[in-house]
């Protein structure tokens, strides 16, 4: 991605990477949704497409059986406050701060931009997301873990809340030509109406989310704890954002982009395997 390198911004960054440090928070599963071990059908079932398209895309095919070990996934997207804490050590800020991220330097420490404290962090690359999750003792969810968390284990629900259509009281997205919001909303703003069966919020809409896997076509074979293709330059993004339509918020919708890219509609959440918890 092209850098934004106004001298003033760089001077700010240079100050930002001061010598303060901070310890990562203690790993706790309290704010995480608990997903038991089990199997589900991942991807979209093949159906005859309409002449002018369908909500689902060919990259969601074929449906395939996936078995997952027990894990937990953050109930919310990582916030700007969380991100500001991560940027306190100089070596973190030097690499992972970007001038467009919703944080600022107070003169003493990195703080979330006013009004963004509980909004999801944006303008983070896949590498930034991986580094943050590792810092808090977690990891990015795999694509299969993300989809299972969004759709539950007992049905192939279209959205995390169920088969009912999308509306602005369930998710932050763009309906017709009108966005529900012009910025990402604070996390849990649509909870519990828009929550997944296990209580994860904003899996549909608000900001799209990086997951761990490389982007590629699905295989028909049944898989256990899949981690995605071993090759390929792009990483998977899930969940849709405040900029996208309802079709992009579906539990099976997916696309890929280069891991170094950032945008004002792309964030992440973290996960951890049950056997990795203390």
């Amino acid at each position: 991605m092209r850098a934004v390198l106004l001298p003033a911004v760089l001077a700010f960054l240079a100050l930002l990477v001061g010598c303060s440090g901070s310890e990562p928070p203690e790993l706790s599963g309290r704010s995480m949704a608990v997903i038991p071990a089990g199997s589900f059908s991942m991807g979209h079932a093949l159906a005859t497409p309409g002449p002018y398209g369908s909500e689902w895309k060919e990259n969601e095919l074929p449906p395939h059986e996936v078995s997952l070990s027990a894990y937990r996934i953050d109930r919310s997207e990582v916030t700007a406050s969380d991100w500001a804490a991560f940027l306190q050590p100089a070596s973190h800020a030097q690499v992972h701060h970007h001038p467009l991220q919703p944080v600022e330097w107070s003169g003493m420490e990195v703080l979330p931009r006013p009004g963004w404290e509980e909004r999801p962090v944006v303008q983070v690359s896949w590498f930034d997301a991986v580094a943050y999750c590792g810092w808090v003792g977690k990891r990015l969810p795999t694509e299969a873990e993300w989809e299972r968390a969004a759709r539950g284990d007992q049905d192939d629900r279209r959205y995390p809340w169920g088969p009912e259509g999308a509306s602005c009281d369930k998710a932050v997205y763009t309906t017709g030509a009108s966005p529900c919001a012009l910025l990402p909303e604070p996390v849990f703003s649509r909870s519990p109406a828009g929550d997944s069966p296990e209580g994860a919020s904003d899996l549909a809409g608000n900001v799209a989310e990086w997951v761990a896997d490389r982007y590629g076509r699905y295989d028909e074979d049944a898989l256990t704890d899949p981690g995605g293709p071993t090759g390929g330059a792009l990483r998977v993004v899930r969940g849709g954002s405040f900029r996208e339509r309802a079709a992009s918020m579906r539990t099976t919708s997916r696309w890929g982009t280069s891991p170094h890219k950032r945008s004002d509609a792309l964030g992440f959440r973290c996960a951890v395997s049950e056997d990795e918890l203390p």
């Binding site: 991605m1 092209r2 850098a3 934004v4 390198l5 106004l6 001298p7 760089l10 001077a11 960054l13 240079a14 100050l15 990477v17 001061g18 010598c19 990562p24 497409p49 002449p51 002018y52 398209g53 369908s54 895309k57 060919e58 990259n59 050590p89 100089a90 070596s91 973190h92 030097q94 690499v95 992972h96 467009l100 896949w126 590498f127 930034d128 991986v130 580094a131 999750c133 590792g134 810092w135 003792g137 990891r139 990015l140 030509a177 792009l234 900029r243 339509r245 992009s248 997916r254 696309w255 890929g256 982009t257 280069s258 170094h260 890219k261 945008s263 004002d264 509609a265 792309l266 990795e276």
Partner: protein, 343 residues
Amino acid sequence: MRLRLALTAALASVVFLCACGQAPALCPSSADGTCDVPRVCALGTDSADCDAWCADSDLPLLRAPCAHDEASRLRQEELEGLDAVGSGGQGGPVGTWDGVIEARGAASGSRVDRHYRVHVPSSYDPDNPSPMLFVLGGFQVDLYFLPGYTELDRSAGLSDVIVVYLQPEWRYFGNSIGWVFAWYVYDNAWSGGWDDNPDLDFMEQLAEHLGSLYNVDRSRTLVSGHSRGAALSVIATLELPDLFSGFCAQAGFVAVNDYDLRMAELEGQQPGAGYIIHGDMDPDVSVNQSDYLVDQLESLGWAEGEHFEYLRLEDVTHFWQPQYNEDFIEFLLSRPLGEDLQQ
């Protein structure tokens, strides 16, 4: 450009050292053969050990330090920047706005107002030339439908591209169809030949205008379209080779108005870049049309993989495929205009 970026980065280092008196402290147990980050020490403070481990292992515990190191390397590449050719425009708002510009009409000597919508991502920086992507809808499609349909506003933010949606003229197609939006690709509905095409003039005028407003990368102006807009995207790239570096044609065609015959006359023209997408269940425009387009391009010396990609998708009908937005933009941006073609 690179010199300026390097000087700016050097300035940042000086300011940083003045502010802190020292660089970030190394992990106390650095260089002991064990990667101690991120739980014991901050990321980036034990790179000597972690780099060696990242090269040899894919342990879950190493994901964070390895991602940190890769991000650090990429940050350095960002500092080096792209070889871009800026148009020099310094103004223009960020966000979405609508505009009107005058361009050639269908009748000889006439001028008409043409409408368009611009989406400029929040990352736009006038000091760094930004690529620009024109988007052309299909027959009867109003431009205000296109942002949601193509999801290209999302891609604008990811790739730092200015996206421009163009409106076809409002034209009469007889009693059975009536008044609709339609590009000038069929039936010689305009006065003159391809050199006089009203839509091509619209694109030229608009590129010039936006280049005066924004700092547009003249070596990376792209055009994409669906159906009839896809046909025009191919035609525009071939007819205006010093303006467009590449096209993305989804469910398109070139066997229209004898354009395929005209293509044969373009032999010897330097290949541009193309990304062709077509579903094999398309009921409106047969996938054979894109097969034919590929044949025509190859006869002009375009090579698959080098100059163009062709995605012939199974079980796909007449529909824009937004899940390939990032793929086609990345492919086309990596193939800028040669220096001899830049305006």
